[in-house]
Assembly symmetry: C2
Homo-oligomer: 496 residues x 2
């Protein structure tokens, strides 16, 4: 049996692969003093607290430190191992329970293994013959996602990120509207317009530029006070626009985690015959939760959905699904170029398994495996528990404290708050106060990065001054970590 062979590894590779495994091990250490973990983890916990989230070094210094130049002659194993060690040391520990900076966080051993296996197997998804297993794995994951969305059937592809998925939606919507654009281009065509909320991800805008639609033809629809698209405003804008093509509804906006009212938007799309795309890259995970899936009510009426398991579900980067309700091979027809050296029609197996022509890429990574293995290990039920654990209630208890002001009661895992230093607390409300508050977050962030024991992001939102956005999804985050963030933020900012 193949698996039973006693497999040896060349010595040098063995040493270096151990380094890589140790890198992952440093992420695997898990929680600090978290309530949902047993007490046996104390030594463990000590380790993780000794490892900083980041070890800040300015770019110019780090360049020196890492000796990045590529030279004529190779380096010794020892030197390489030292370099790998430094690479790991100075990288941000995104798996650390006090990393809250991005829409991904935490680490998931099963998915890491999935990643390592896809890297080790080194193949590309285009023909069944060169990637038999991963072709079927991708199909299986897409099928499950389609089922969870609530469609009877459908199609899809994994992409290198949600931005690409949103661009696929733009292209499919345009293709369905006027299939001849694929051949003739947009020259001389009536100006086409795409609708999305003002809080939508910037990939819609990037996509419009890239696809020749133009950023001006992304029509931004106003949102309500909680960042959700206003359907009546959408309808008004459609009536005034040149050639409406597609509406993008966002399920989980990037900054505040708002969910557009998909059902009402679907009514508008139906009325005007527009393609409805749901950018659920961030919020798609609620589909797995009985308690929270009302947030995406109506998603089954969408024509396409983007959903990234590498965010809330913690698959490794990148793992981005793009799903289409169409059953007429729209994805294939829209993107195919029928390269004769790859997609021969005289093969001895069913060539409908060759999925490469659904994609605009040629070589494409088997990313679906990263969520497949994780899903196999945890089952839908445990994934659901994670989503439920990550969402509201819990963080709010801690953030509605003295000195901290939440911008919104969160719908999702984004917690947005201002820290108000004591010196500003007695000032009267007004532009002057907010100008001062605006400068607080960048200073705290600088001190935080240099100290390196936690990491969260800040930004503005509309006319609101700089605030922190803390994204809480890592299942290893405990109440102690949340307390720590509050206390540490106060320590770092109380003199401002």
């Amino acid at each position: 049996m193949w698996w039973g062979l006693e497999i040896q590894v060349k010595e040098k590779a063995h040493i270096l692969i151990s380094a890589a495994v140790r890198a992952r091990a440093s992420q695997l250490e898990g929680p600090g003093f978290n309530s949902h973990q047993g007490p046996g983890l104390s030594v463990w916990s000590l380790h993780v607290l000794l490892v900083s989230v980041c070890e800040w070094v300015f770019p110019e210094q780090l360049q020196q430190l890492l000796d990045l130049d590529l030279r004529d002659t190779g380096e010794s194993e020892e030197a390489l191992l030292r370099r790998c060690s430094d690479v790991i040391k100075y990288s941000v520990k995104t798996g650390h329970p006090r990393f809250f900076n991005q829409l991904y966080a935490g680490m998931e051993p099963y998915s890491t293994v999935g990643s390592f296996i896809t890297e080790a197997i080194k193949t590309s998804l285009y023909t069944y013959e060169v990637a038999p297993v991963f072709t079927l794995v991708e199909q299986a994951v897409l099928k499950k996602m389609i089922e969870v969305i609530g469609w009877e059937d459908g199609d899809g592809t994994f992409n290198p990120g949600g931005s690409m998925s949103n661009m696929y939606a733009l292209n499919l919507a345009r293709y369905r509207h006027s299939p001849d654009i694929k051949e003739n281009g947009l020259f001389g065509v009536k100006r086409q317009v795409i609708f999305t909320s003002q809080d939508a991800h910037y990939s819609l805008s990037k996509g419009a530029a890239f696809l020749g639609i133009g950023t001006k033809n992304i029509c931004t629809v106003p949102t309500d006070e909680r960042g959700r698209m206003v359907p009546s405003a959408l309808e008004e804008l459609i009536l005034k626009s040149a050639e409406p093509i597609m509406v993008n509804a966002t399920a989980g906006t990037t900054v505040i985690g708002a969910f557009d009212p998909i059902d009402q938007i679907a009514d508008v799309c139906e009325k005007y015959g527009l393609w409805l795309h749901v950018d659920a890259c961030w919020g798609g995970a609620v589909l797995l939760s009985e308690r929270h899936k009302h947030l995406v009510k109506g998603i089954d009426r969408a024509d396409s959905v983007a959903w990234n398991p590498h965010k809330m579900l913690m698959a490794c980067l990148q793992c981005s699904g793009f799903l289409v309700r169409d059953k007429t091979h729209l994805l294939q027809r829209c993107h195919s170029a029928r390269a004769s050296y790859l997609f021969q029609q005289d093969k001895f197996y069913d060539v409908s398994f060759d999925c490469g022509d659904k994609s605009i890429q040629c070589s494409r990574k088997p990313d679906a495996f990263k969520i497949w293995l994780l899903w196999k290990a945890l089952g839908t039920s445990q994934l659901e528990q994670r989503v439920d654990r990550a969402l509201p209630a819990k963080p709010m208890k801690f953030f509605l404290l003295f000195f901290f002001f939440c911008l919104f009661q969160p719908e999702y895992a984004n917690v947005c708050f201002w820290y108000i230093p004591p010196s500003l607390r007695s000032l009267p409300d007004g532009p002057e106060l907010w100008e001062k508050i605006h400068k607080v977050a960048p200073v705290i962030k600088e001190r935080m990065m240099k100290k390196g024991n936690m990491m969260l992001g800040y930004q503005m939102y509309q006319d609101k001054a700089n605030f922190f956005r803390m994204v809480i999804i890592n299942p290893d985050v405990g109440t102690d970590d949340l307390h720590f963030v509050l206390e540490e933020t106060h320590r770092l900012g109380k003199d401002l």
Copy 2:
């Protein structure tokens, strides 16, 4: 010291990570009985010959075998380990010295380690703060590639594949020509035309469709008898076209490995003020070889170059560089959307290190590390030796044998040949003979896949009947492997 910490790995992760490492180990076994390897490898060699290149199973059976469905409850560690084992078993061993099917092959332990580390660190390239090391690593690799191309300075980005790089070139060329298209789109603009040879990669066509240019506006320039673009034909077509924008020269075509005459094409581009992009995804590696770099003479006159170290240089998938000669932040200006939540301007470090807005993606993998570590280990000199070893001379001795007819004396690592079964050898030349030859390769391929001891691809080229294209780049390929391909092809096809 952080690296010195005794790091433990959770038990379950440890077992599974071992599985992943074993997966790589199966690829690491290296050569069969290759002349350039010492005799100490015999046990080793036995192992690799016991492992098939592929274990063919039809899709429907494999679906059953792997039990791909995702369910409510998770599975046991043992079951998962068995699944991983099956995933590895039924995947194609692209690192096997008898895998010649794609433009990538072989395995490179250093790059694998680079892959594992990037997976383990789990971060994305957009801000320095979240990916300090990889930001600088990417810069260092781009700088080296720019130096090797022969530019004084430049810019670039790594992309998820060469198709994407070619699309970046289209978008930059268009942006330089009419920057306002980014905002306004192509509506009402005069029809723009892109020139490329008829042998160019299909991503140009896919890109034209995706970017709203239209596949019809890709003007294909005739090639000479060796698959190289004819510059005089290019000039004639430019004079007749609507609004010429860009010329794509291919350095290493996909099927036959031809190099367009870049210098002469550059003359034409200069004369008409057109953007010159060189798709050197496949052939870029010759830049490292004193002996072979004449093939890309004039590449330093290009405006942009696509070059994939995951092909000839054997970095892990994906590792695709896109380089631009411009020094005025064209890449940034063309693609930026200035997302305020990510690219704050009030940061405490030099935000020019935040590279995210050069890309159309949001999250992007630190792929450059896969070639950086490899380059550090081998140095330019060993990379050069590999390129030199892979190119012409050697394979030709074996392929100009009885029963085999090469289509062309290869310029690069693509060896294209027909196998003529004995029964056809006495037939007169003519359409009837070629019709029969056309059917030979698919049958041999079927038998080859089912036997599983080697793998090479076949296709047509222009009016030429189906032939085999064998891509020889793996440094572990020895003369025995080449002999084996010939003998085995004869064994599989002699009765046809």
